[in-house]
């Protein structure tokens, strides 16, 4: 009998079609949306990328890091270094940002993997602090006060002139649109890449390590190597996002680029609120996060207080987050990774 192993469900097929339409709309967005919308979408997309990578670490790899700001900051500074010191164009420098974060991730993992569980979390934080303090000593990039991208570099950036002419916008708006498109590419690649990873053999191994490390080891999964793969992948992606975020900001300082609130606390709240350990969770989380920020941003510290309390409540009441609640009730998975057997007739042997 013909049977096959599949991960597709009717819901996931519909989700794929809706997703494809959404992507087309998002690509076309700069043609009909204003500059403010583009900037908001840039923020949402970059936070989504950071959240997906933190989720890969904590939700799938079981590595709760509070040191993601090390990779954001390192990526951002690598981009500024490449542009200011080597005169490279900011756009290709984003790749260098990822590589720099990857390079810093190797010693970070080497130290932090010596600490287990909760201490790993604070260990990554300490290392992020060390990187921040070291970067603040880098006088050619402004030391503790920071620096800006030179005007000539931002003006002559790749593609900017093309966008200016094609859309009939000013240079500053064209730069925002370029950054937005790059963020969109990065977000799609991130979600696609993580989904692909989870469906491969390695993804299966990763889920096994998350659910029970000892049992996974006993069937031949190299748990230590999985941790390295997840940590380095996540650092690379976070570094790319860091580079891109600061390419758009065009101004950097160690305190902002290595901010634990902006690059780790927000990201953790997004994932926890949306639903940890799922791809859908961070997407829901970033939308809730953005809505809360739009509503409460004027209230300053009340906003962060609300986020903190909300994260506590969600963790206690619905540890799988908003998406987990929905998914439990309806059995819905937009990015299914569970392998199911379909098509075979299970009753044939009785005939």
């Amino acid at each position: 009998m013909a049977y096959k192993v599949t991960t597709q469900t009717p819901a996931s097929r519909i989700a794929a079609i809706v997703g494809a339409i959404a992507i087309v709309v998002l690509i076309a967005l700069p043609f009909f949306a204003g500059r403010g919308t583009i900037q908001d979408m840039f923020f949402i997309l970059t936070m989504l990328v950071l959240a997906q990578f933190w989720n890969l670490l904590a939700g799938y790899g079981g590595l709760v890091s509070i040191g993601q700001q090390a990779f954001v900051g390192m990526g951002a500074y690598a981009l500024f270094g490449a542009v200011i010191l080597w005169g490279l164009d900011p756009v290709p420098s984003i790749l260098l940002a990822g590589v720099a974060a990857l390079i810093i991730a190797v010693p970070t993992a080497f130290f932090a993997f010596r600490l287990s569980g909760a201490y790993f979390a604070i260990g990554t934080w300490v290392i992020a602090e060390v990187v921040r303090l070291l970067v603040a000593q880098w006088k050619t990039l402004g030391g503790g006060t920071g620096t800006s991208l030179p005007r000539s570099a931002t003006r002559d950036m790749w593609f900017v002139e093309m966008i200016e002419e094609a859309l009939g916008v000013r240079s500053a708006a064209a730069r925002d649109i370029l950054a937005y498109w790059l963020a969109l590419i990065l977000a799609i690649a991130t979600i696609g890449g993580i989904y692909w990873l989870l469906r491969t053999r390695r993804g299966l191994a990763l889920a096994a390590v998350r659910d029970n490390t000892e049992a996974a080891k006993s069937v031949g999964v190299d748990a230590g190597r999985m941790k390295w793969i997840v940590f380095l992948t996540s650092a690379f992606g976070t570094g790319l996002a860091g580079g891109l975020i600061y390419m758009q900001k065009a101004r950097i300082s160690p305190d902002a680029a290595f901010s634990v609130t902006d690059w780790t606390a927000y990201v953790i709240f997004i994932v926890v609120i949306g639903g940890i350990g799922t791809i859908e969770g961070p997407i829901i989380g970033v939308l809730v996060f953005f809505a809360l920020q739009s509503l409460l941003a004027d209230f300053g510290s009340w906003y962060l207080m609300t986020l903190g309390v909300l994260a506590i409540v969600i963790m206690l009441v619905a540890p799988r987050g908003l998406w987990g609640l929905l998914s439990e009730r309806t059995g819905l998975h937009l990015f299914p990774i569970r392998r199911r057997l379909t098509g075979g007739q299970l009753t044939t042997s009785e005939e």
């Binding site: 079981g62 600490l115 909760a118 926890v272 903190g308 994260a311």
Partner: protein, 287 residues
């Protein structure tokens, strides 16, 4: 001579860090809980003392006696009704809940007291110093260090000489079996966090008397405390004191070379110990 002075200042500073760390170490030792809000609780303790000093016109040293039972109660309720619900095999819930607590507490303090730095009022005692041969020692640093030693002696006595201490150790080893012997782990955990917050209050007193504080300095105190615990080896209180001293000396020596290197030097010392002795200087036999 200046180097001996620097190193002694560092050792005394280590006493403060050991005070920060003892509460963290106690809670981790008994329930394997890492409280990421520990630093913010210290800062909150400092504000509580400040409020009591301002409202009641007490000296900070007397205000502590009012603050201690309040903080004990806070710790007890926090553990009993919030943190106990996060304990289990999965490390995510306690980490994320205490992280949420840390951010919420920081911003609540910011809202209540603004970002301005505060300081507990000083008197003749807090600025006094004694001459010990060629070097001069501040009374406050000496008092801090003595308090750290007293706290550690007290905790060790509590652990190994009292019924409560026996319950602590039993629950730490095996909560299920301990509960068969009539111990309620939930209450034991609540008491442990209560005691941790008593130590936090003592730490807060010295934090507030020695330097300025504002709502944002909590996370850095958590990091120093954490480094001291890891250097000393999980579960060893005397190790924690030594860990605090190592961080303190590294910071003062670093600052003596270049003021910008103070904090960095402490972190580097921690990383070096982690490299050479991953389990700390005095690790418990099995954990």
């Amino acid at each position: 001579m200046i180097w001996i002075d620097t190193i002694i200042q560092g050792i005394l500073l280590g006493g403060l860090y050991a005070l920060f760390a003892s509460g963290l170490s106690l809670v981790f030792g008994i329930m394997r809980l890492v409280n990421l809000a520990h630093g913010d609780l210290i800062v909150m303790g400092a504000y509580l003392i400040l409020v009591l000093v301002t409202l009641l016109g007490l000296s900070p040293f007397l205000a502590v006696f009012v603050a201690v039972p309040l903080m004990f109660a806070l710790g007890w309720f926090l553990q009993k009704f919030l943190l106990n619900r996060t304990l289990g095999e999965d490390i995510l819930p306690p980490l994320l809940v205490t992280f949420g607590l840390s951010i919420a507490l920081q911003n609540a303090l910011l809202e209540g007291f603004s970002a301005d730095s505060q300081r507990l009022p000083t008197n003749a005692l807090t600025t006094a110093s004694v001459d010990a041969g060629p070097i001069t020692l501040g009374v406050m640093p000496l008092l801090t260090f003595a308090s750290a030693v007293l706290v550690i002696v007290g905790l060790n006595q509590l652990f190994y000489r009292t019924e409560l201490g026996r319950a602590f150790r039993a629950t730490s080893d095996d909560a299920t079996t301990a509960s068969l012997m009539g111990i309620k782990p939930a209450n034991i955990f609540a008491t442990a966090t209560g005691i941790a917050l008593v130590i936090v209050t003592i730490a807060a007193l010295y934090l507030g008397l020695r330097a300025n504080f504002d709502p944002n300095i909590g996370p850095a105190r958590l990091i120093y405390a954490f480094e001291a615990v890891i250097i000393g080896g999980l579960g060893s209180l005397w190790g924690t004191l030594l860990g605090g001293i190592i961080i303190g000396v590294a910071q003062t020596v670093g600052a003596a070379i270049n003021p910008e290197w103070q904090i960095l030097a402490g972190h580097i010392a921690f990383l070096v110990v982690l490299l050479v002795r991953p389990r700390g200087l005095f690790p418990r036999a099995n954990d």
